[in-house]
Subunit: 359 residues, 4 copies
């Protein structure tokens, strides 16, 4: 930490800062310039130290030197992390496709969509059972029924499933049915939910908030990691800016920055980033070209019947086309699409175990 | 709703949109221009209608005409709402000052700060018992002990208390001790929490998210209101922008816009908006000049000992100065500061009742 | 400047940075922490130094300690500056109202509007002769004819005039007719225009760009000041954010921040900030409550006939009301509205001199 | 255009809007809903119409249906435009690499960098002779000397050259030496400069402003196009957002959106977007994967000696690596890198003509 004193800060003010630095267990390092006195505080470990020193009279600003996140940091964990999700490896150098409907609507529709997802090349099935909706008057998801359908259809097609949890009270339930638990953008700083999900020990798919800086996002990651749960996958899904052409601005540079600063796998979600199906493929390709470990997209066999986010849902043939092109771009950057697992798996031993677990 | 068809949309596409409009129970209104066909859809009531129509082939965009919020809207409720918080009326044409520490730290410190808050003119006492912290390694609040201290000190000084809840599991507890329950900026789209707090029937103090548009913010308000709880107070506390001089950009225009669009009282929180005590007073004055119903500020008797947000805490004498100047500006715009209630009240009947309620 | 080395930077890299610091004429100050080596570079005066050091291998970041602007800085010029504009003092502790139409449209309309502006309390008349329009197909202003009308009507009502210049080739012309030259938001980083206008020696009214940080804005101010022209007035007029309810987000905190960091007078322009007349008054009051030295607003006697920005133009009676309320808020913060000069002045000595100057 | 009347707008207000619509030469189309009256105005051609109608009492908002740009629009010009720059075709289905130093510094350094640029695969050479610097105290470019060096070195290596113009007075000079004239982000709404550059008839490289929406950007394009100059190339270079990890947020979705809405070629400039060399390659690959027609990057043989933007300059070997990887990604999306022209060309006929032109 670097404490910059105000121009004209008094000697007692400077001494007081030095004293406080020592009280915090740090070592000071004084440097007097022509216009400013600057005091290094070496050894800081706790995030509070910055605000404590900033609150002192005569201090202009305190500049942190170290990133506030630790467990997420590549500095402390130089090797890329890998996360196993029901047999599919994320972060192992391949590109994983996650696809499915925005919300689970009914068994028949989910079945049709999952079939198209798998046929196109998706290794993991997504689908919302609990939907965080901006309006209290909108469809809020099928809840437990949706979870069951998702589990069954996933098993039938040999696809591990990921689904969002929006309330602490549902964490246990979602953990029972899902292979990976998603925390959505709106809950990225719902610290209570982060901790609870972290404690399940299940793989966690944590979307970036649309207004969290990368630094803040990684602090949210820290909430999950600090519960001892290292099975964490990140996902860029668009941020809020002044640009209005699309729903959000897809921050593709978050991919290489997160790769640089952390060891965690990072996905992109172009569907939510742009909100319009005609732009999803271009953004998916951009994400993988920039280094993403995977792509999550929404598909629907009849978008105008979708109960949410129809305008961004790809039709099955559009998804198949996206997957083909994605495979080419993946190869161009030295990777491969991770293929779906064997279809028969769903009826095998794993299924039985999961069944047992559910009862 | 106005459906704008793409340039060159086919006749079957247009007819399909008309059919869907009728299926949704709406009436269409066709208008063919030289370059675009535009179809009005009259009678829309549900937020889903927009995305359903947007998802149809040949549709360029759908422009909503009505605001998606209803219970918050001035259109449906033209008269300003008033909210009674433990005997203090918010939204009744006066300006209410809420002050206190960021977090409840210990009884002695809270007592000292509350005394200064009341002496300066604050009618309501604030203090956090559950703190939503960006870092899992930061102080997370005293929890139940903090709630009890806040209740006791509030009663002693005749000040109703407001405190934040960050988890659904704590809603009941907080509702038992607080006169008004705060939902913080990070939870503004934690829809589950909004509903739960709405159901308590207690006054709710809902801060704007730092990345929610005013429209989205009012949809969050709708979550509380739609539980039948009309005791809702809003609060502008700064939004995220590219400007880095201060922590957030204080969006003072949210005050007149919310006054114009809704009937709900609106506060400003200059402390969180700027993050530095030297700018708190100017922003507080601006907020009241723009029409705010009240101001929430953080004060501390020794900011460098504060367990959170010390740099933005006003010292007691700064707060007293702010209150004096605020009284002048309030008068200039035809209002008055609402004075604190009688100090003796804390020992009276109300206290007993609350006590009973707690057990 | 503080040079933060990467984790694991090598000894030769550290030595190389130290050498370069010395080559730049600065003194280094080395501090080795457990995870990072930090090197202070004392004595930096030139903005290039930061990027030079940042470009070196092994450097993680360079944190500047000093603000990059000098002449604008309160540190080097502690006393508030005052600017005389045709006899009206800006920055002298009073609040100055500048009003007039967006564009000069014709003599009759300008006369009517100026009369209303003066009657309401405006001391300075504004009006655009050269308009920077987003669309090449929009009205671009009357040019020289507009300047002449503005001058004549200003003189008739005893009001100094301010008008915008958008091209270097027009600077001399505008300087001949105007008492203060405006540089609009879109030209805030048109450095060539800034320098040229600075060289005229005329008072300059420099609007903040809608995407310049306060720091960048003050660097633009530095372009004018470094030409030896200290007659500079700043103006906050709204910035671009994700919020869409109004045209821009009025950054009222820019007022106290600029007051704190610089000695320059700062205005607010609520008309352009919000774009809708029903919100102009609230924002004007907020600006003055926050410490602004003046307010610039657009008025029109018939907004729907206005050739630009009609929706934000106040009607004369709305302007008169705004001025009355502004006087009350000014008084509440210890200031007074600066009254218009004597109406007869236009025919007096000043006028003759200006006439002489023009020919 | 759709005029939405306020809730409770009176009949005379509605009639007045209809009258005005007719006076503007448009046809009205009335639709009365339960809560709102909506009036379509068919036939609008001029951007002013929107603000005229918005300025009328009783009008809540006016929603434009047509994009305000015309010549840039794909609707009016469905086929992709191609621009010939000194023999290199931009927009013809290939990917063009433009590379060179931020600023021309001296002949030797430029020569070394150009050699590396060509060797790596750049077809066009960039280099600034006039630099728009945020600080008046920074290096402002070599001016005419820089232009001459750029021309000579470009000719030697058979590379057409692009360079920025920052002042109207220099347009003619720059047009004489450059094959393509760049307008930088800070001048994107310097409408005077846009028109002047448009009038030269030379190819124009127009960078997006860091705070212009895509719609506003295309209106700036319209300024160039409406001068009869169709040789226009666009370039995304990052926008301002709340994210602070990099200098700007690279808006990769601008690429497919601009491809969708217009017929103009679109480049990406990852160097300015991120400001740090370690992220340039990932963003370049993302841009091409998303459909960009080319990439402009800055390179330098000794970044720490660069007179501007050293931290973002690629070293020659990094550039060669970028070009190789870019060729792979281009192929994956069905394109090829456009190779540099023959090296001998510089001594040929073209050169003579250009020489003739200069004198």
């Amino acid at each position: 930490m670097i404490v910059v004193m105000q121009h004209g800060a008094s000697e007692p003010q400077i001494q007081h800062v030095i004293e406080r630095i020592r009280q915090l267990g740090l070592t000071e390092h004084l440097s007097r310039g022509e216009f400013r006195t600057v005091i290094g505080a070496v050894g800081d470990k706790r995030p509070e130290h910055q605000t404590i020193l900033e609150a002192i009279d005569g201090v202009e600003q305190v500049v942190p030197i170290m990133k506030p996140y630790k467990l997420a940091s590549r500095e402390f964990h130089p090797v890329d992390s890998q996360v196993d999700v029901g047999g599919v490896t994320i972060g192992g150098g391949g590109v994983v496709l996650i696809a499915g409907p925005c919300a689970v609507e009914n068994r028949q529709s989910l079945h049709t969509i999952a079939e198209a997802a798998r046929a196109g090349g998706a290794a993991i099935l997504r689908g919302g059972a609990f939907k965080p909706r901006t309006s209290p008057y909108s469809f809020q998801g099928l809840g437990l029924d949706g979870l069951k359908m998702l589990r069954e259809v996933g098993d039938e097609f040999g696809m591990p499933v990921v689904t969002e949890v929006v309330a602490v009270k549902d964490v246990e339930l979602v953990a029972r049915y899902a292979d990976m638990i998603q925390i959505g953008a709106r809950n990225v700083q719902n610290f209570n939910l982060l901790s609870e999900v972290g404690m399940t020990g299940k793989p966690v798919f944590l979307k970036r908030g649309f207004a969290t800086t990368i630094g803040e996002y990684l602090m949210s990651a820290e909430y999950v990691l600090s519960q001892g749960n290292r099975k964490l996958v990140l996902c860029e899904r668009g941020i809020k800016t002044f640009e209005t052409e699309l729903r959000f601005t897809f921050d593709v540079s978050a991919v290489p920055v997160i790769k640089h600063n952390t060891h965690l796998p990072i996905f992109v979600d172009p569907s939510h980033a742009c909100g319009r199906r005609e732009f999803v493929t271009a953004l998916a390709l951009a994400g993988v070209a920039a280094g993403a470990d995977g792509v999550m997209v929404e598909i629907h066999n009849c978008p105008e019947e979708a109960m949410c986010d129809g305008p961004q849902a790809l039709l099955p043939e559009m998804f198949a086309d996206l997957a083909r092109r994605l495979a080419d771009v993946a190869k161009a950057v030295g990777k491969e699409l991770v293929p779906p697992g064997p279809r028969g798996r769903a009826g095998g031993k794993d299924h039985g175990e999961r069944g047992a677990q559910i009862n």
